[in-house]
């Protein structure tokens, strides 16, 4: 099952909008909720992405799977999974710092984000190089 571009955009748009609304309510002190509750749209969105990714990866194990470009695709999927986990780790660490550990160094929170951004830059650079070579 592959979602169309419009469906994927709608999904992203909806969860981003919900998160921004909840963030504004919290920052303007209109809602006295925990930071973990404010991040609920992020948790739901990440769970949907993770499930979709795992289902796609599990599809490789089916008997009728065409193994052409298999290694390349597997590498890409592993990177996506790693990126999702890094994003999740960053959000969890940020919530933990804001909620319970105000004295924790911000550098510890940002380490997963830096790894994610460096990976994304590398991936983007590789895509540009690969496309140009093709």
């Amino acid at each position: 099952m592959r979602m169309s571009l419009a469906q994927r955009v709608l999904l992203t748009w909806l969860f981003t909008l919900l998160f921004l609304i909840m963030l504004v309510l919290k920052l303007d002190e209109k809602a006295n909720w925990s930071w973990f509750l404010i991040f609920i749209p992020v948790w739901i969105f990440d769970t949907i992405l993770l499930v979709m990714l795992i289902v796609k990866m599990a599809g490789r194990c089916k008997s009728g799977y065409d193994p052409r470009n298999g290694l390349q695709n597997l590498k890409k999927k592993v990177w996506y999974l790693l990126a999702m986990l890094l994003k999740l780790a960053f959000c969890l660490a940020l919530c933990a710092k804001l909620e319970q550990f105000p004295k924790m160094k911000l550098a510890f929170v940002f380490v997963p984000l830096w790894a994610l951004l460096l990976g994304a830059l590398g991936h983007l650079g590789w895509t540009v190089f690969h496309d140009r070579r093709d």
Binding site: S4, L5, A6, R8, V9, L10, L11, T12, W13, T16, L17, L20, L23, V24, L27, D28, L49, L53, Y80, A83, M84, K105, L106, A107, F110, L113, W114, L117, L118, A120, L121, L124, G125, T127, V128
Partner: protein, 136 residues
């Protein structure tokens, strides 16, 4: 992940190089935020912290202007104007958001509430939704 880089280029209207530039700026910005918060003795101002984001906006505007001029000279007038208008709109909204957030962090004034600061992002989200319908 959810979108391929080709779909992102189509949807956001930015070239891959520009996305690379903005991601790089975000990385440097996040490092400077950590320096500002964890090492207060460094005496780094919030304007300095936001510097990489402003620089990326400026470079992106310059790059878009050059591309649009080239497109115009090659006879793709409609495409050149549409691209320029779209990118300038997106970058302006991003810049206004960054500017307001930076002012809030510098002054800590209660007049500037977060709903107002994030409003450019709400407008940007609506534009992105409309563009997604057109691209699709």
């Amino acid at each position: 992940m959810l979108f391929s880089s080709r779909e992102l280029v189509q949807w956001l209207g930015f070239a891959t190089f520009e996305m690379f530039l903005h991601l790089g700026a975000l990385l440097v910005f996040s490092v400077l935020v950590v320096v500002k918060v964890d090492l207060p003795e460094q005496d780094l101002s919030w304007w300095g912290v936001f510097g990489p984001l402003f620089a990326a906006d400026g470079l992106s505007t310059y790059f878009t202007t050059i591309v649009s001029i080239r497109l115009y000279q090659e006879g793709e007038k409609r495409l050149a104007v549409l691209r320029l208008i779209w990118i300038i709109t997106v970058l302006s909204l991003k810049f206004v958001f960054e500017m307001l957030l930076c002012r809030k962090l510098v002054q800590q004034s209660s007049e500037l509430w977060y709903g107002l600061i994030i409003s450019p992002l709400f407008i940007l989200l609506q534009f992105l939704m409309i563009r997604a319908c057109r691209v699709n």
